[in-house]
Symmetry: D4
Subunit: 154 residues, 8 copies
């Protein structure tokens, strides 16, 4: 039976290689998933608005310009995804990750959250909106392999 | 005139080969339908949450974890279907089949129900939301052949 | 701060007095909730189509007529509810209850399921779509009292 | 000309009296706004799931139960609001606040964010989705007074 | 248990007193339904566009102007209805009645059709989208009485 | 600049070759449009329900069965169309054509109506919901050629 | 028969007393319409952002702040309207009026445009999305009187 | 990681070569974007209704016919776009451009506005609904290159 074509958005933490782990794991498993993500280069993400549309002396508006240029990408790609994976790390406030989770939830996307168990209490509302809460990227690959192919490793 | 590409989700009873009958019948008729379905391996479907995300001592949460991992597949695939076929057998409670029918109905999908006439009274609300109520898988193939190609066997 | 006006639909099992327990409990707690429900008189529910629109010799169409007349009520009232409570008993197939749960889920309603723990495995997909799984009607009153007023009994 | 009836949800930080400031300011200005909010009692919010539906030995499920019972209130009330105000304080991770902002954004609500300017960079994506970014509760009262009555203090 | 407030739109044939029969029957039964309808004065309905916005020499545009002014009423009132009743008579083409039925169907309204059995074959697609097909206005009153109050006459 | 891929549903009158005229005209103009339509074989359309799902002694239910099987096709194909063309002839009541127009209108489709000017008054509400009212199939080809390629014949 | 409660938003030109003419005409006719509008005080509308949220040295951001504070009112009130009336005058660019018309059109509102015939060619796309194009405020009162009460002045 | 396929609609001013600048810039950057646009030939756009559907003596109806034929293209193409770019020039009223911006905003599209800074105050409501406000077509190419590929020119 056909498995269709899956599109998965990888939101959240940008300082470790978790996205690559998932992408490579999915490739190794032959899942054929289309992975999407925000721009994960921190400097580009901060500077894009000012760099393209003109520098701003006021940091609020500099950030505002940049955040909106990034939103062109993030909203478009979340809207076309079947599954939205959001990873929370132990550093930084990561409010944009939680924002994406809320946005994806209201859009009816299937949500998978990845975080260390130590963050569980602080993330309980976000986890409560998810269909799966994982600790490691490899578990996301396993979930996708199961959801798409029904394969369950022993 | 073009017939487009049809996507059909096959929900419900997993202990007989009715899905294969439909898929093979559609193939024999050259319908070119993309068939989707839940994971039909009972054990995998029960175990997937615990196997991937960690074992649970409490059966309620073990089931809850598994049901949600399965929902990643079922919601995604029902959402992208044109037609949702739901078969009810004479054993088990099959509440997930009825849940899928309600979900598909609220999403505006065309619904076809398959069941033995003896189950008619118990299924009257579900049948009432369907565009067709069949007894045999071969009738679903005929409906699809008619809906897609206008072919009506004599 | 205002608590707004809540509308709660009570779906499912019709052979015990659980609806009255919830309505009376809510009244005793002064919750001011508007409770809605399907027609719970079994005979009326079976006969309404034939009684109003004409008798049918074929039981399938008799049921079909009745199920659709009932759907005028159930769809309308579920659509205007904030919360949908569905109770499953230990008798009968109750496919319409599961259908309502799926319908409500796709419509984005908050779902509360009531059932005996012994039914947990069979209801895991339905429970997985719920925001609360209770065993007793009194717990639903407590949930509503908390959701509306923030009151938590000691 | 009529000003209609406005419903405003106050999400986020629960450790200072900012909600009361807004409610009292709106009352003093005679705005007639219906204010809604999550349960702001920290302990109740943590305990509600376990207290009503049964204690849980595992903290993840204890939190999960509670988060979902709270979601019955928060989703319902955000869904019926015209404006969603989200305040971020300088303590705690407040991921549920950012989640609410994302959820409200996807639902097309008008969003007002309140935070200290020092949090601006970390909140740039959230601010980018807002129609107003304020520093003080009194500014929210002024915005509502202007939006509803067109009054602008000199 | 509360019965809520029902809004019912009465579309279609304007040359007999069927609307009054339903309204009076509902009043006699104390149903408290809010009934809405198109403008049923044939001449006003034809002339409204030209009378208000200026006469038109070309009959196509005269009709176009009028049809759109009427649509301000019909779309608004159908959109706010729970149930849409459409009656087909044995004269005239009544394409606007069938249009309303299609419009209401796509908007997810509960549809009740009234017509003489002799029109059944010609109306089969319209009837197929309805939750009830009646012959007489009094049956609509009975359906509403049942749907709202659960009352079934013996 | 890209012209995208257009999907056009051809609803209504089935006794003349207007669909072929449009399809051939579009082919001659190289428009690359995907044309969809209902089953236009009158007998098949009447018999499909009974032929596939079992004969019915009562003509109402025989029609009902058939109308719903046809609806599997018509709803699915209208839902995936950009433009819905509906032709009204001078014979028969054609209520299903008007139903399709209303359905398509509520779904936000671009509507083109084809009819003889003599039917204008009776079709004024349907025409009022259309973006173009044509008399001949060749005009529909010209509209599509213009809408897709900007070509306007001299 | 009930006429329901109508809500009408009056968008566009703010330098003449057309809104008052409509409101007073509707009152004289006893229509009971709830009229909504943007803030029509030009200075307040320009200054609100800076006055409430802090002055801005850069005129672009000053305008941006103000436009968004105004949007809290305009989006909320258009969203809750049945009918949106947009008047274009002969001065200024009035892009916000045309923006409101496009916004209202996509939201499925009934649109009435008022303008001098001399502006017809420039407004053809906007007029094309309207259900009525009037020249004078009194015509809007007549349309509302007809739509609500079926009254047509001789 | 995949970048998906982007669809961008170019609305507004038709008297300069800004669309070609964007299309060529995107091609040079290898973006693979599908660009869509209205018919930009002024005469065709004015004449299409009359040319295809018949000449009209009254200029209002001539314009009305043409505007609606153009709407078949514009609505369809905006609806299938991810990003809508709207350019305002310094001549003409360009109400259709502002209408498109409002329409796109209500449909949840990402909006980019291009205009000379001198038009900023008049366009403040339109700019306020945009995710980016540019002055030159080349900036739109840069935004798309960043949104799609994360590339930021130094």
């Amino acid at each position: 039976m056909a498995q269709g074509k899956w599109t998965v958005y990888l939101s959240g933490e940008i300082h470790t290689g978790w996205r690559e782990e998932i992408v490579e794991g999915a490739e190794a498993a032959g899942l054929g998933v289309e992975f999407l993500s925000p721009i994960t280069d921190h400097d580009s993400s901060d500077d894009c608005g000012a760099a393209i549309l003109g520098e701003e002396p006021d940091s609020f508006w500099r950030d505002n310009k940049g955040a909106k240029v990034n939103a062109i990408r993030t909203r478009t790609l979340i809207d076309r995804s079947d599954v939205v994976v959001v990873r929370f790390g132990d550093k930084y406030r990561q409010w944009n990750a939680a924002f994406d989770a809320g946005y994806a939830s209201a859009k009816g996307k299937s949500i998978i959250i990845i975080h260390d168990p130590s963050l569980g209490h602080a993330l309980k509302e976000v986890d409560g909106a998810a269909l799966a809460v994982a600790e490691k990227p490899s578990q996301v690959v396993q979930i996708l392999d199961y959801a798409i192919n029904g394969r369950l490793a022993n």
